[in-house]
């Protein structure tokens, strides 16, 4: 039988096939289908328009109104109301609002809703995050979501895979975010268009789940369909106490076929910064000199997890944010929020002069809770620095890891963490 990659195996399994080959069009069963307050209203209206009455499985359709939460205005509240009414009508098990809501891609793994070996679709481009658990997951649009809500199935084109091998040990202050920024800097924002990115090698094997999620999260920023990391003992430790369903570990065959293999030595990788206005404009942080900033955002589905807040707290401990720099910290879920509080991070952040926001996407997409004016510049631990992403079209966003973001807040300009600690 043809050797397969982990991605091909998961797709084959869900399509009821023994083997698939890149380019094959398959119809596959979907384990989890996700929508948010921006994308689900359109899916729900399509669902109703064609006369559907019931979702295929009330445990498998997940609605998370996270983007404009707490509802920023009447229009967004109205959108959320559509989700809320639908969730009640369909008796959805997983609907999160108020004090239960978190940023979707942090919330689903944390709650054990997504498990290794799953096929997950979400009407949100960063659905690719769950590759960190060894699941195939990909972003789709609202109509695709509607189709899955009704049938539990969707068509897919089996993607080719690119393998990224990271050898050696990570340098200090370097995290999964830096590895993925480095890749995007090398291959560009369409460097993996239509493809699956598979991350492997010794450095990945010792990477935390949080860092793995940050990596897979940004696969879409290289144009990829999905990102995936073969599950291992670290994955098991994370999922075994959370998983709400049985899970399965898949792995790539030794002689599986890749369209390309790229190798990196981690000794060469320092913290990265993606300069405006594309995630591919990456530089080593030491090369970004004298960039004054007005705002720092630490949060999002990329870097709003406990590990990220821990690093920020380590750097901010006993320090003050530079004058007139707004530091906004957004724990991604209620669990992360309360854990960070218990561990004393909030004291550190507040003493440093930060604003702590409830879990929300908020400023990440220029929604609310920290919008930039023309001419303002931010460092953000988010994933996109497109024109106008966080506010006015004449504002600028620099993407970085939480350590760089925290250090930059203290310095008032983009800074290497070593300059502060």
């Amino acid at each position: 039988m043809r050797p397969m990659t982990i991605t091909e195996k998961i797709l084959a399994k869900h399509a009821g096939l023994k083997v698939v080959t890149p380019g094959d069009l398959i119809n596959a069963k979907v384990d989890i289908a996700l929508g948010n307050d921006i994308t689900a209203p359109i899916a729900i209206s399509e669902f109703r328009r064609i006369g559907a009455k019931k979702v295929f499985n009330r445990n498998k359709v997940i609605l998370v109104p996270d983007h404009f939460t707490p509802n920023k205005d009447i229009k967004s509240a109205t959108q959320v109301k559509i989700l809320r009414d639908f969730a009640l009508e369909q008796k959805l098990t997983h609907y999160y609002e108020g004090g239960d809501v978190g940023v979707e891609h942090a919330l689903l793994p944390e709650k054990g809703i997504v498990v290794p070996g799953d096929l997950v679709i979400g009407a949100d481009s960063h659905t690719c995050t769950y590759g960190a658990l060894g699941a195939f997951s990909t972003g789709v649009g609202s109509t695709d979501l509607a189709a899955v809500m009704i049938t539990g199935e969707l068509w897919f084109k089996v993607p080719e895979s690119i393998k990224f091998v990271f050898r050696g040990k990570l340098r200090k202050w370097v995290s999964g975010k830096d590895l993925i920024l480095r890749i995007i800097g090398d291959i560009g924002v369409d460097g993996a268009l239509y493809k699956a990115m598979e991350f492997t090698g010794g450095a990945i094997e010792s990477l935390s789940i949080e860092s793995r999620m940050a990596m897979c999260n940004m696969a879409i920023e290289a144009g990829a369909k999905s990102g995936i990391i073969p599950p291992d003992a670290i994955t098991k430790a994370y999922v075994e106490k959370r998983a709400e369903r049985p899970y399965k570990f898949y792995s790539s065959d030794k002689d599986a076929v890749y369209s390309e293999v790229r190798e990196y030595d981690c000794a060469d990788i320092e913290p990265q910064v993606a300069c405006p206005h594309l995630p591919e404009n990456t530089k080593n942080v030491s090369e970004v000199k004298n960039v004054r900033i007005d705002q720092v955002v630490i949060g999002s589905c990329t870097n709003g997890r406990l590990e990220d807040l821990a690093v920020a707290a380590k750097i901010l401990k006993g320090k003050k944010v530079a004058r007139l720099v707004r530091l906004i910290v957004i724990p991604a879920t209620p669990f992360i929020y309360s854990e960070a509080m218990k561990r004393g991070y909030f004291d550190i952040f507040l003493k440093a002069g930060a604003v702590i926001s409830p879990p929300t996407c908020g400023p990440c997409l220029g929604g609310h809770m920290g919008i930039l004016a023309a001419g303002e510049r931010a460092v953000a631990t988010t994933n996109r620095n497109f024109v106008g992403r966080m506010g006015d079209v004449k504002s600028e966003v620099y993407l970085a890891n939480p350590a760089v973001a925290a250090a930059s807040a203290v310095k008032g300009k983009i800074a290497h963490p070593d300059e502060v600690v």
């Binding site: 069009l25 921006i38 994308t39 209203p41 359109i42 209206s45 399509e46 328009r49 064609i50 006369g51 559907a52 009455k53 983007h67 404009f68 920023k72 205005d73 229009k75 967004s76 959108q79 979400g122 009407a123 949100d124 481009s125 659905t127 972003g139 789709v140 649009g141 609202s142 109509t143 695709d144 509607a146 189709a147 009704i150 049938t151 068509w155 924002v189 369409d190 268009l193 239509y194 879409i220 144009g223 369909k225 594309l278 997409l365 220029g366 929604g367 996109r384 497109f386 024109v387 106008g388 992403r389 079209v393």
Partner: protein, 164 residues
């Protein structure tokens, strides 16, 4: 399907935030969205676009978020089809699903300038730049996608299959 319209020409990596900024995503009303289509890239677009006009763009058009509001806004603005060197994959899927015609053609992109008149035949993939007197053939649309269009989009194909 045949279209004739004037070209609106854009560069590479036009992301969905530029097609329809997130600040307007608290609604999914097509006409509301159309008012702000391309606003951060080309503030003149929404007020000047004519019914049937055609967007021609460089590589990776529609990259970024999965918002179906992007093809919805473009279609509601009156654009008949988008021709690009390549499309980001979620945008590509969304366009077929909700019925915005899209084509890939390097030559058409290389030669088109803003304001050129193009004639596009979706069924054959033929593109005629009337202003410049040039004719091209777009990359063929995969048969599966053609079927989807014939069925009237993804939702109609589900209805026909008896999915509900």
């Amino acid at each position: 399907m045949k279209f004739t319209g004037n070209v609106w020409k854009y560069g590479a990596d036009i992301d969905t935030d530029r097609i329809i900024p997130a600040r307007y995503l608290n609604t999914s009303d097509p006409l509301e969205l159309a008012k702000h289509c391309m606003e951060d890239e080309d503030p003149a677009f929404a007020s000047r676009v004519q019914q049937g006009d055609i967007i021609v763009a460089e590589k990776n058009f529609g990259c970024g978020s999965s918002r179906e509001h992007a093809p919805i806004a473009i279609k509601a603005a009156g654009i008949s089809c988008v021709i690009a060197r390549s499309f980001a994959r979620i945008f590509y899927r969304n366009s077929f699903n909700m019925g915005l015609p899209i084509l890939e053609s390097d030559e058409a992109v290389d030669t088109a300038s803003r304001g050129d008149v193009l004639e596009v035949d979706m069924d054959s993939g033929k593109i005629h730049n009337v202003t410049k007197g040039l004719r091209f053939k777009a990359r063929p649309v995969p048969p599966f996608m053609q079927e989807l269009i014939k069925a009237g989009g993804l939702m109609e194909s589900i209805r026909k299959r008896g999915g509900i």
